[in-house]
């Protein structure tokens, strides 16, 4: 079981049979993401390996993991929003334990996860995991 926000999404997706509807939801979620401040769209937050531009800004607040993110592509913004539901608000110690690939598979979005896919979902997940590893090591 992942976080409630993500489980809710999984439940919603169970009622969506065709990919168009799933994409519609993902795209809308992307549009609803809080705008990432220009000051945070910098080389340090930029995720390389994405065909479109992607920024991820992870933080620890108290003991809790949180992140902001953005992309100039709508579907990728939506995927960032999905990751947000998966990761944001987790206790810092739990972040490394998330099997993002398996969780996203529950949404029927695994076709976005092959290594050659240039949308960069793998790179985004790696960025989050690297941050978590560094935090937990420190």
């Amino acid at each position: 079981m992942a976080q409630a926000a993500f489980e809710e999404l999984v439940e919603d997706f169970e009622f969506l049979e065709d990919w168009e509807d799933r994409y519609r939801v993902v795209i809308e979620m992307g549009k609803d993401m809080p705008v990432l401040d220009d000051a945070l769209r910098v080389p340090a937050t930029k995720v390389e390996g994405c065909a479109s531009q992607v920024w991820i800004h992870p933080e620890v607040k108290g003991d809790t993991f949180t992140f902001m993110g953005a992309s100039d592509a709508l579907i990728v913004s939506g995927l960032i929003a999905v990751l947000h539901r998966l990761y944001d608000g987790l206790p810092m110690a739990d972040v490394s334990g998330v099997d993002a690939k398996a969780e996203l598979g529950r949404l029927g979005l695994t076709d976005h996860l092959s290594a050659q896919r240039s949308n960069g979902l793998n790179s985004m997940i790696s960025r989050i995991q690297e941050f978590a590893a560094a935090q937990n090591a420190g």
């Binding site: 990919w19 168009e20 994409y23 519609r24 795209i27 065909a51 479109s52 992309s71 100039d72 592509a73 709508l74 579907i75 990728v76 240039s118 949308n119």
Partner: protein, 410 residues
């Protein structure tokens, strides 16, 4: 399906990959500008070459080496015929346009240009016809002079000619833009440049696929082609080089096959074109290219061009009807290459992702044309590029998929 001068159903049957499905939908392959699919005759030729007729070329005296050499060398004449080159010894075999243009940069331009000399280019060149010249700019102080496209995406041949100054030593220009579909009047450019004593390199990577080409009529000095866009194997290609220019060139890549004699303190070279073909070449790729070009010629370049013009007109009318779609480039006589963006926030990658779900393969990105994208004020476009095996039905599928993309992303 709108009627065509070609028996498109029969042609499609020659391309096994076209009958496969993608994401559960019939494949609609509209990424031909990046690479074309291969007919069965080419696939068979590759298999046969490896299964029955393979050895290294030019070296052995044994049966298979002679046979492979004969097959490989016979392609030179096929390419000469395809390009209308007067002499097959003006054809240098290589891995494609990128290598061909680099050969001209290193072998001819480095030898014949000096600091302050100019190369005239259009802003719509592919990086393959830009980066080798940047090398000369960085390393030798050669100056690049850029000619912009017009608002409709056309390129004014007169402006290219006017850009030729006293220090201009080369014009390097595409005959067909891989983004805009614009066809360039290279014949006029070559005639005017010749009158001023300036050689012209034509990037024929796209044009040779879509229209009859005759380098003798064009009057160019260099004409580069890429095999994998010509329904042939990747890693094959050629460049036509006028004899006078060949005589002015020094070898670019050194190694076996391009030499006459090598000793500890001297080397003499083979005669052109072998002088410019070092090392074991793409033997089987080149043999496959010969078969691909024969296949194209047996269909007829005029017919291929006529079919694609029909597709272009059909697609143009359909896409013009989508008032939320912006097609880049609307030059008269443009080829069936459509680069577009959607109104609103949709990124080219969003659009191509949705199209892919519908089985429609297009390219999204900069298309290796950084200067053109800057000129157009765009970061990326989607590109649908057609080939001889595409149909008007496929245009309809593209339009339906675009409507869905517009609905989802708008």
């Amino acid at each position: 399906m709108t009627s065509s001068v070609l028996d498109v159903a029969a042609i499609r049957a020659d391309f096994p990959i076209l009958s496969r499905k993608v994401n559960g939908k019939p494949l609609v392959y509209l990424d031909n500008g990046a690479s074309a699919q291969k007919p069965q005759v080419v696939i068979d030729a590759i298999t046969k070459a490896y299964a029955e007729e393979y050895a290294n070329v030019h070296r052995g005296l044994h049966f298979l080496s002679n046979l492979a050499t004969e097959k490989y060398e016979s392609v030179r004449a096929v390419i000469a015929r395809f390009l209308g080159a007067p002499d097959e010894n003006e054809i240098v075999l290589n891995s494609g346009t990128t290598e061909g243009i680099n050969l001209v940069a290193y072998g001819w331009a480095m030898e014949n240009l000096q600091a302050g000399d100019e190369i005239v280019l259009s802003v719509m060149e592919h990086h393959a016809n830009i980066v080798p010249w940047h090398f000369l700019r960085e390393r030798m102080g050669v100056v690049l002079k850029w000619v912009d496209t017009e608002l409709d995406g056309s390129l004014d041949a007169g402006k290219v000619v006017d850009a030729i100054g006293p220090r201009t030593k080369l014009v390097a220009i595409t005959q067909l833009s891989n983004v805009l579909g614009t066809v360039v009047d290279v014949k006029t450019i070559c005639a005017e440049a010749r009158a001023k004593g300036v050689p012209v390199l034509v990037d024929g990577s796209q044009s040779a696929v879509h229209m009859p080409v005759n380098v003798d009529e064009i009057g160019c000095d260099f004409f580069a082609i890429t095999g994998h866009k010509l329904y042939g194997p990747s890693g094959s290609g050629a460049i036509y080089i006028r004899k006078e220019r060949m005589a002015e060139m020094r070898p670019f890549i050194g190694g076996g096959d391009m030499i006459r004699e090598v000793s500890k303190d001297a080397v003499t070279y083979a005669d052109p074109p072998m002088k410019f073909e070092a090392g074991t070449p793409g033997i089987v790729q080149t043999i496959g290219l010969g078969v691909a070009l024969d296949y194209m010629m047996s269909i007829g370049m005029d017919k291929i061009a006529a079919h694609e013009k029909m597709l272009c007109d059909y697609a143009r009318a359909k896409l013009d009807g989508l008032n939320w779609l912006n097609v880049q480039g609307n030059a008269p006589g443009k080829a069936a290459i459509f680069s577009f963006t959607l109104n609103g926030a949709a990124h080219a990658h969003d659009i191509s992702t949705i199209l892919d779900k519908k089985g429609v393969a297009v390219r999204a990105g900069q298309h290796c044309t950084g200067p053109l994208m800057t000129h157009l004020g765009l970061t990326a476009t989607c590109r649908a590029s057609f080939a001889m095996y595409n149909t008007t039905d496929e245009v309809d599928v593209l339009v339906e998929a675009l409507e869905l993309a517009h609905e989802l992303l708008g």
